[in-house]
């Protein structure tokens, strides 16, 4: 087997095997487990980096075999795949480090890290899937492997959240399966292709294809947290902080958004979707979700819940970018896939740090936390400003590109939505920043713990700082050759130029 076929498989296996090894290790061997976890994460990062370099130079990494009559299992690394794979490889390493510190001394760690690795393996599979069928395979695997993480604490509330999570996501999966099976019946096994498959298609099929499109987007929209099927997301907040970080930044919501990107561009083709008028309603729905999520976030007092509604809003930026017909809109949506991940994971790391170090869960308990935990609070502030869209941070790059894309697509109302949403972002993030830095400590911290010299456990201390650095860098270096923005431009060029 050649190296080009081997690398995608290795990228998948690195975390799959890690999961198997971790499940096999006894509960008590913490050091060995941590070592396996970190080794696998570093190995995966290396593999993904090598593949990204290869894709940049035009190497075709792909492998496929026939799984069922007429259907093949297919892994293929294209530029879009590497965008998502790169995001998850980098953030997996950081989240693993964070989780090791976060779960110190808690029970069921073997189970936790096993499913954690399975979850990342599924994400990698989603990124590298070469056709809808393979995508669906890993998409459902993701649902199953995140359930034990959501209910990890085993409390009645966690189980309730898990129940809702599974009802929503399995329901979405059924709709998606119906769409995929129908499409397969109509058109056979469709590999993802940068310009889509339906540039010229029998007009008699248009009706059915439109229905299939609706089914696919509806099924994927559940995980992407689109209104009105977002209900599971705020509830799933009961999971441990590293899980929330992973769910919001990399795995679940991103899988949904990424799937919509794949369906619109690589299955239907942006031209077909535009001509059929499929994009416009989706744009309205995404815009509504952007505003709705921000509005709901305003009223949340629980920090993690506020972040959850913020995710609902931010992920729909990606969908909004997809629906803007024109390369600029596409670039804005794609680059936000990455930017949102980096910013949101920083925020969740910080929220976890406040909860673990000070016992603070609510916004109004954060008064004066900036003096006690300066590094964490700086990271939080930077990410919050990024979300609002302050230049030159990551969020600004996204919003600027999206705005330009909207103007190019002659959808001026989208600019209005972007502005309004930025105002709302400011309205729910700035009060927190104000409390952190400018208000005096009102009451003793609910449950304070101390770890030596640093403001918190070292495993928890560094990850948010690293992601903060990333979110500053991707903003500052956006115009250079290796920034996410340039990568998104590379993808967009391949999508629009047949």
């Amino acid at each position: 087997m050649s190296l080009t076929a081997l690398l995608p498989i290795l990228a998948l296996l690195s975390s799959l095997l890690a999961a198997v090894v971790i499940f096999a290790l006894p509960e008590s061997s913490h050091r060995l487990r941590t070592l396996v976890n970190l080794l696998a994460a570093v190995l995966k990062l290396g593999i993904v980096a090598a593949m990204t370099w290869g894709v940049f130079r035009g190497v075709d990494f792909s492998v496929s075999f026939s799984m069922l009559p007429g259907v093949s299992f297919m892994l293929r690394a294209d530029a879009l795949a590497m965008l998502f794979a790169g995001l998850s490889a980098v953030l997996w390493l950081l989240t693993t480090i964070y989780a090791v510190g976060y779960l110190e001394d808690s029970p069921n760690r073997s189970r936790f890290f096993g499913f954690f690795s399975l979850c990342v393996a599924s994400t990698m599979g989603i990124a590298l899937a070469g056709n809808l069928f393979t995508f669906f395979l890993f998409y459902e695997m993701l649902t199953l492997s995140t359930y034990p993480l959501v209910v990890h604490r085993g409390t009645a509330r966690a189980l309730q959240a898990g129940r809702n999570y599974i009802i929503y996501t399995l329901g979405g999966g059924v709709v998606l399966l119906l769409g995929i099976a129908w499409l397969h019946g109509l058109a056979g096994d469709l590999a993802f292709r940068e310009t889509g498959h339906f540039q010229s298609v029998d007009p008699a099929l248009h009706g059915q294809l439109t229905l299939v499109f609706v089914l696919l987007v509806a099924g994927l929209g559940v995980k992407a947290g689109m209104f009105p099927v977002h209900g599971w997301l705020p509830q799933a907040m009961v999971a441990p902080a590293p899980v929330s970080a992973l769910l919001h930044a990399v795995a679940v919501v991103k899988a949904g958004a990424f799937g919509i990107v794949r369906v619109v561009y690589d299955i239907f083709g942006i031209d077909f979707a535009y001509r059929q008028g499929l994009l416009e309603p989706l744009a309205w729905l995404a815009a509504f979700t952007v505003l709705y999520g921000s509005l709901r976030a305003l009223w949340q007092l629980d920090l993690k819940r506020r972040l959850a509604f913020s995710t609902i809003s931010q992920v729909s930026y990606i969908i909004l970018g997809v629906t803007l017909f024109g390369p600029l809109g596409t670039v804005g949506g794609l680059v936000h896939l990455l930017h949102q991940g980096i910013m949101k994971i920083t925020l969740f790391f910080c929220a976890g740090n406040y909860a673990e170090t000070l016992g603070v869960h609510r916004v109004d308990e954060l008064d004066g936390a900036g003096a006690r935990m300066p590094a964490t609070s700086i990271a939080f502030t930077a990410a919050a400003l990024g979300m609002i869209g302050v230049p030159p941070l990551a969020g600004f790059v996204t919003k600027w590109t999206l705005g330009a894309g909207a103007l190019a697509a002659q959808m001026e109302w989208v600019v209005l939505v972007l502005l309004l949403s930025s105002l709302l972002n400011a309205a729910y993030f700035l009060p927190i920043v104000y409390r952190l830095w400018f208000l005096p400590v009102a009451a003793p911290w609910p449950e304070e713990r101390r770890w030596g010299r640093l403001e918190t456990n070292a495993w928890l201390f560094w990850p948010p700082l690293v992601t903060m650095l990333l979110l500053v860098l991707v903003g500052l270096l956006a115009p250079t050759a290796f920034s996410p923005l340039s990568w998104a431009q590379l993808i967009a060029v391949r999508m629009y130029l047949p």
Binding site: L68, P69, P148, V151, G154, R163, V174, A181
Partner: protein, 487 residues
Amino acid sequence: MAGLLFTPLAWAALSLLLDFRRGRWLSWLGMLIQVLVSLSLWFAVAGGGGFFYALAGWEAPLGIALRVDGLAVSFVLLTAAVATACGVHAGVYLDPGKSWQRYFWPLFWFLWAGLNGVWLGADLFNLYVGLELISLAAVGLVALGGEAAALRAALRYLFAALLGSLAYLLGVALLYGQFGTLSLTGIAGVVGATEPAAALALLLMLAGLALKTALFPLHGWLPPAHGIAKSPVSALLSGLVVKASFYIAARLWLELGDRLGSQLLAQGLGALGAAAVLWGSWRAFRQPYLKQVVAYSSVAQIGYLFLLFPLTYAVAEPVSRLAQQGITLQVISHALAKAAMFLAAGNLILSVRSKRVDALGGVSHFLPFSLFSFGLAGVSLMGMPPTGGFAAKWLLLQASLASGQWWWIAVLLLGGVLAAAYVFRIYRASFLEDSVSDDFYHPPKTLEAIPMILALLALGLGLVAEPVLSVLALPFEVAAGVTAVQP
């Protein structure tokens, strides 16, 4: 070849003379032989194609003819895998101190002989003999242990099985009277389109077999019998025994259905199957006892099998083939997954010392391995990728779409959701961490490993479905000339 039938029979007789412990050693040897023979036969057919085999050289009208095609050898191999797993499990699970346990091995081997007889049988009467052997052995296995409830369930099972056999035998007699032959292919060759007596015979046989397969609404006997039996026995019954009668029904339908069947019959059987899927899943969701959940799940999963009838009647050849492949995969993956599930459920029950679902709290902490096996098997039953259950569902979806029978799509999708509901109910109960008790028993490693292996096989089936299906499709006509070759 002949060993596949005679080894189990010989072992049944031999183990009757021994007590449980010695019978166990003997049986382990027997299982090894059976597995090796089944494997070599499977590879022989996979490589050289199927054939007819006349036992001891006697040709069809007098002797026993065996039909060795890809489907039959695959089921022989499946039986070897599942029965060996259950046999090894039972050897550790059953308490050798109790005197009645020694009857386990003879019954186990009779069952195996019957199963192989049904998979390979080429004429209707031999199939009947195999079926009866299976039923009697299965009833005996359910009654093993002798508690009042077990005896009641066994008796109920016996009546259902006898009634089913009777209907089947009546049908066989009618066909014999009409055509003067019992060979399935012989009848298929001469039967015409309008023969009411033959159609009646087919109807009778299908009804009898449906009763033995526990098709809704004739499923009443199954949950008590499968729920009360010892876990390895339940695994055998749910995994293999109900498939035997379905297998005969399917062979009858595929040979004779196009002429003797009708759209009404096909759709009716499909509708009953759909009702079984929905009703069985719902009942499974409501059961307070763990093994009852698994038993009702069998009722639901059997329902899918009956979609074979509408999806192969009066449809294009490729569609019919898709449906047959889907159903075959469903049979195999359900056999593996359900056996895994029953064995894992047995471990969980041993561990928490209670049969109730709500007693499972904290078990994810103490017995993660068995719970994981249970979960993996559940994934296959839900039809989630990449399991065999998913591959089956996918093929059936495609067949429904291609034949324009969209109503079955709803059943397939809804059935998956309902299966998720009852499987996740178990997870939910076992993830709960507020239980005060930490009094858990750890079953031996063998008991934990076996369900995991079966569940992994069910999972892997989805990944290698294509090569497996290509062997399943091998007809026995391919190498009709090599009748005498004995692998």
